[in-house]
């Protein structure tokens, strides 16, 4: 997520490669935690649309459908990517990731 932070653990530990991997895993967990917040934000946006007002400036239902289903699909794709990434990465040591 944040490439600037990558340098921090490099100097501390002798094995940069492993450290980098577990660092990536931590950020992956962060992403997993943030995903529902992103989802909630996307889903809350329709609250801002004008509703029940005059019929002229309302949002057409087809646009609303497009927006909601696109967001939905986007969330599913991110979750899918995370699922595959997590499967590859978490296999080795589950415990470390959990303690974070």
């Amino acid at each position: 997520m944040n490439s600037g932070e990558d340098r921090k653990p490099l100097g501390v530990r002798p094995s940069p490669f492993l450290e980098r991997q577990s660092y990536r895993r931590r950020r992956l967990m962060d992403a997993a935690r943030l995903l529902p917040i992103l989802g909630a934000a996307l889903v809350a946006i329709p609250l801002l649309w004008p509703s029940q007002g005059s019929s002229e400036d309302g949002v057409p239902l087809s646009s609303a459908i497009l927006y909601i289903f696109t967001c939905w699909a986007l969330l599913i794709v991110i979750s899918l990517i995370f699922g595959f990434a997590a499967r590859r990465m978490v296999v080795s040591d589950d415990a470390e990731a959990e303690s974070d």
């Binding site: 967990m29 997993a32 935690r33 995903l35 529902p36 989802g39 909630a40 889903v43 809350a44 329709p46 609250l47 649309w49 004008p50 509703s51 029940q52 019929s55 309302g58 949002v59 057409p60 239902l61 087809s62 646009s63 609303a64 459908i65 909601i68 289903f69 939905w72 699909a73 969330l75 599913i76 794709v77 979750s79 899918l80 995370f82 699922g83 997590a86 499967r87 589950d94 415990a95 959990e98 303690s99």
Partner: protein
């Protein structure tokens, strides 16, 4: 045109197919084949019992009424699935490590295994499940009625059909859900059947959708135009309802008993959540993809006033596509049956475990310990509870009139079951959550839900319109749909807001104010920190060489001889050839009894449990072990205290004995001394009196001298006898004190002058006169006697070349302390404890005293309320006299 009979035949055939699938899956699982039965795909598909007949039919109806609002019901669960990493994963892990059987079990387990709480959750779940089941009944009945309208035979009657649908579903659920008893085990058969039903309903809805978009509207573009042109063609969703429903569906997705059953209880592998996290939202998306198109086309095609809840069926029928309608009917039927099966399974588990079994066991009083009995009772309880639950659903359907929109009934159920959410989330993430808090919160939320939503929804029969309009007893602020005078809210939003807000507030407040039991706190720690306490839950391993392990353990506890004898005996009793018996229940029970004699019952139970494995050590066991060790510790510390007391008493006895021996020796010494003392003057008296009697011609001078000697000796005898008499009078307490007032200085003056008068021994006396101006009110003669004694002792015994006696007086803490210290060599340490005893004499009899002086002094000081003691380590003999001050004594 499909007739009703064909429809019923298709239904029955479909049910038979489901049975076949379930049966085959169970067989495969039992045979150890079919790893795909535990695959993430099956898990994800089984989660889709979330989509019931309400979803299948009602979503279209909802869309036809209020546009995109229906989508909230799917967005909530989507958000929950997306947050699986910190939410569902914990729930599943807790459920698996604690081996919970239902959501009631989970809540009760978290809050100290409280059955009260389990009963509350069970009742809530049953009441929340009732409208939901009514919903399934309604949807099936409605779909039947659509086909019946087209059926020329006209045999269909709605009232009786509802009953038969309810009865049929009950039988179906009983046959399906209670085939095997063990609720801890996963129901592979049921889960597989549900997965199949999920595929069927998704396929049916997609087929109708594809038909509508491409078959009726003519493609995506025209469809979109048609949507915008329709009467729901604008975004028109109330913000409050949008937010509330997303939240509510998310809460219900976690709390619904049937969701908990498939998500937690039937979960075979935590990793499945990873797949379900994207696959289940995808399923939901597909389920809702064609909802709006179907609704729009339905609104266009169907005549005014037709029920939009049934567009899924009526649109294909109106287009003459009977087979598609049949498929869609099967899809709706699938949705209803799978929901009813799993709900009935979950609810009946809860009812039988938390309501029926405790009551049955308490009425049996332990008589029914034969396992077969309990099995039958449990099965019976589950079957009856399924029937009762279905009957409740039927009754609710009749009460609510069957006319209300499907979606609103579903939301009522959601709001009810969501009352568990605060207790559940609090229990998983907050260690301070207590049983009292959960109970209070649940009760508050439950009551508010019933009052503001369930009863108003059941129509005028239960809650009269006057109450709805003006509040109970005319109290306007208690109106069910405008609590505390807040009007104008949507009833649903109003109820959810108040019940959940007050529920959470009550839960937190009661948790903060109450104090949890030890078991609760332990469970709380285990739940909240489940990832610290558990590795990935391991399955039970087969019991290999248990008897040997038991033998090793028993030898350690009982000693090898008795242990081998016991095992040998047991093996012979079992008729086995080897020396190790089989670990049968009877043997284990006897072994446990044997061991509990040595290590306590709870410890023995826990140890055997550890080795035999089948049952893990429960917290109660551990607590009992802790209690036992605490008792042992208590007992041993009591023993220690007693033994310390004994040794103290023994030491005191030894000291007393030594003293007694010393005193006895002193007495012997004194007797010889007294006889010597008496004999010496008596001898000289006799000798001189004989001389005076028998010798003639004594000179007058000689006569006077001899008579003087006789007189002196007689005086000496008298003095000795006086002393003895004095001491016995003092000791017997018959002495009367002659009180008078004077200063210490003048008493000492008199004592010094009378002690030194007429003595040839020189003694220098050093005094500090200013400090002696202390007034005393006491028996002056007796006190003077003590002082004289001490001064003459110093005179007699001080062995210095120039004997000096220092007399110093202080006022210490309300007492006068007078020290008499000489510069001699003092009293040897071994004699110090004896100087105040009668007849004690230090250093032989060189001064010729009878050894009574100090004993008399001590007795006098005791009579005067003071004391006299020897002060060791002052350089010479030092005596200290303590006496209460004058005013003190006067005050007494």
């Amino acid at each position: 045109m499909a007739t009703l009979n064909v429809l019923i035949l298709v239904c029955l055939g479909y049910v038979v197919l489901l049975f076949g699938v379930a049966f085959a899956a169970d067989r495969m699982a039992a045979a150890g084949r079919g790893a795909w039965l535990r695959s993430p795909l099956i898990y994800t598909l089984s989660l889709s019992i979330y989509c019931t007949a309400w979803t299948f039919y009602g979503a279209v109806g909802n869309a036809a009424r209020s546009g995109l609002e229906f989508v909230t019901i799917y967005l909530g669960p989507t958000l929950v699935m997306l947050s699986w990493w910190w939410g569902l994963r914990k729930l599943v892990r807790v459920g698996r490590t604690q081996r919970v059987t239902s959501i009631a079990d989970l809540i009760s387990s978290r809050y100290g295994k409280s059955n009260t709480l389990a009963i509350c959750v069970t009742i809530l779940a049953v009441l929340g499940g009732t409208p939901y089941i009514a919903l399934q009944l309604q949807s099936i009945t409605l779909s039947f009625s659509i086909f019946a309208e087209a059926d020329p035979s006209g045999l269909y009657r709605e009232g009786s059909s509802v009953f038969w649908v309810a009865a049929g579903l009950a039988v179906f659920a009983i046959l399906f859900g209670t085939r095997n008893l063990d609720a801890n085990e996963r129901h592979h058969g049921v889960v597989t059947a549900i997965a199949l039903e999920s595929v069927v309903k998704l396929f049916a809805l997609l087929a109708v959708g594809v038909f509508v978009v491409w078959g009726v509207a003519g493609g995506i573009g025209p469809m979109m135009d048609r949507i915008d042109a329709s009467e729901i063609g604008q975004w028109n969703v109330d913000a409050g309802r949008w937010t509330t429903f997303i939240f509510l569906s998310a809460a219900a997705f976690i709390c619904l008993p049937r969701m908990f059953q498939v998500m937690v209880v039937e979960n075979a592998d935590e990793g499945h959540l990873r797949t379900a996290a994207w696959a289940f939202p995808l399923y939901l998306l597909l389920m809702s993809l064609f909802v709006v198109p179907i609704a729009v086309v339905g609104l266009d095609l169907m005549p005014e006033g037709s029920n939009p809840d049934l567009f899924v069926l009526t649109v294909p029928l109106s287009q003459g596509n009977d087979w598609l309608a049949m498929l869609s009917f099967i899809g709706g039927f699938s949705s209803a049956t799978s929901m009813v099966i799993v709900t009935a399974m979950a609810l009946s588990t809860m009812v039988s475990n938390h309501l029926v079994m405790p009551i049955w066991l308490s009425t049996q009083g332990g008589a029914g310990s034969v396992s077969g009995d309990v099995r039958n009772v449990v099965l019976m309880a589950r079957r009856v509870s399924i029937a009762v639950i279905m009957a409740l659903g039927y009754y609710y359907y009749r009460l609510s009139g069957g006319g209300a929109a499907l979606a609103s009934i579903g939301l009522v159920a959601f709001a009810g079951i969501s009352q568990i959410l605060p207790a559940l989330v609090g229990g998983l993430f907050w260690r301070g959550a207590t049983r009292t808090g959960a109970l209070v919160g649940l009760t508050v939320g439950f009551v508010l839900w019933i009052y503001t939503l369930l009863l108003p929804g059941m129509g005028g029969a239960i809650m009269p319109d006057s109450v709805l309009q003006n509040g109970p007893f005319g109290w306007g602020w208690l109106r069910p749909q405008a609590l505390f005078g807040i009007e104008g809210m949507d009833p649903m939003v109003h109820s959810v807001m108040w019940s959940l807000a007050l529920n959470t507030a009550a839960f937190c407040a009661a948790s903060l104010l109450s104090f949890p039991s030890p078991l609760e706190r332990l469970q709380g720690a285990q739940f909240v920190n489940v990832f610290d306490h558990s590795v990935s839950p391991a399955g039970w391993t087969g019991s290999v060489a248990q008897s040997e392990d038991l033998m090793i353990m028993t030898q350690r506890i009982l000693g090898s001889g008795p242990a081998q004898e016991f095992f040998q005996h047991e093996a012979e009793a079992q008729g086995g050839r080897t020396s190790l018996p089989e670990p049968t229940p009877g043997f284990l029970e006897r072994l446990e009894r044997e061991l509990s004699g040595s290590v306590g019952a709870a410890t023995a139970h826990a140890m055997i449990g550890q080795i035999v494995g089948g049952s893990s050590v429960s917290v109660e066991d551990l607590l009992a072990v802790a209690d036992e060790s605490a008792e042992l510790l208590e007992y041993s510390s009591q023993l220690e205290a007693k033994s310390a007391e004994l040794s103290r008493t023994a030491r005191q006895l030894r000291e007393a004995n030594t003293k007694l021996t010393q005193i006895s020796e002193q007495k012997d010494g004194f007797l010889s001394q007294v006889s010597h003392e008496l004999r010496t003057p008596m001898t000289s008296i006799r000798a001189f009196s004989e001389i005076m009697r028998d010798t003639d011609g004594l000179s007058a001078e000689e006569q006077t001298r001899y008579a003087a000697i006789i007189h002196d000796e007689a005086l000496r005898l008298t003095r000795l006898l006086d002393d003895l008499l004095d001491l016995s009078v003092l000791e017997s307490g018959r002495v009367s004190l002659n009180l008078g007032g004077d200063t210490l200085g003048s008493i000492l003056d008199r004592a010094v002058s009378s002690a030194l008068a007429g003595s040839h021994l020189k003694l220098k006396i050093r005094r500090a006169r200013p400090s002696e101006r202390i007034p005393l009110n006491t028996d002056l003669d007796r006190l003077g006697q003590v002082f004289i004694n001490l001064i003459s002792n110093a005179q007699k015994y001080c062995d210095a070349d120039e004997p000096v006696l220092s007399i110093s007086a202080h006022d210490v803490g309300g007492q006068v302390v007078i020290d008499f210290t000489d510069n001699g060599s003092g009293i040897p340490p071994e004699a110090q404890s004896m100087v105040f005893e009668k007849f004690a004499r230090v250093g032989g009899d060189k001064a010729g005293g009878a050894g009574l002086g100090l004993a008399i002094c001590r007795e006098i000081m005791q009579r005067l309320g003071g004391e006299i003691s020897y002060l060791p380590g002052q350089g010479g003999a030092a005596f200290r006299v303590r006496l209460p001050l004058a005013h003190r004594q006067a005050a007494q």
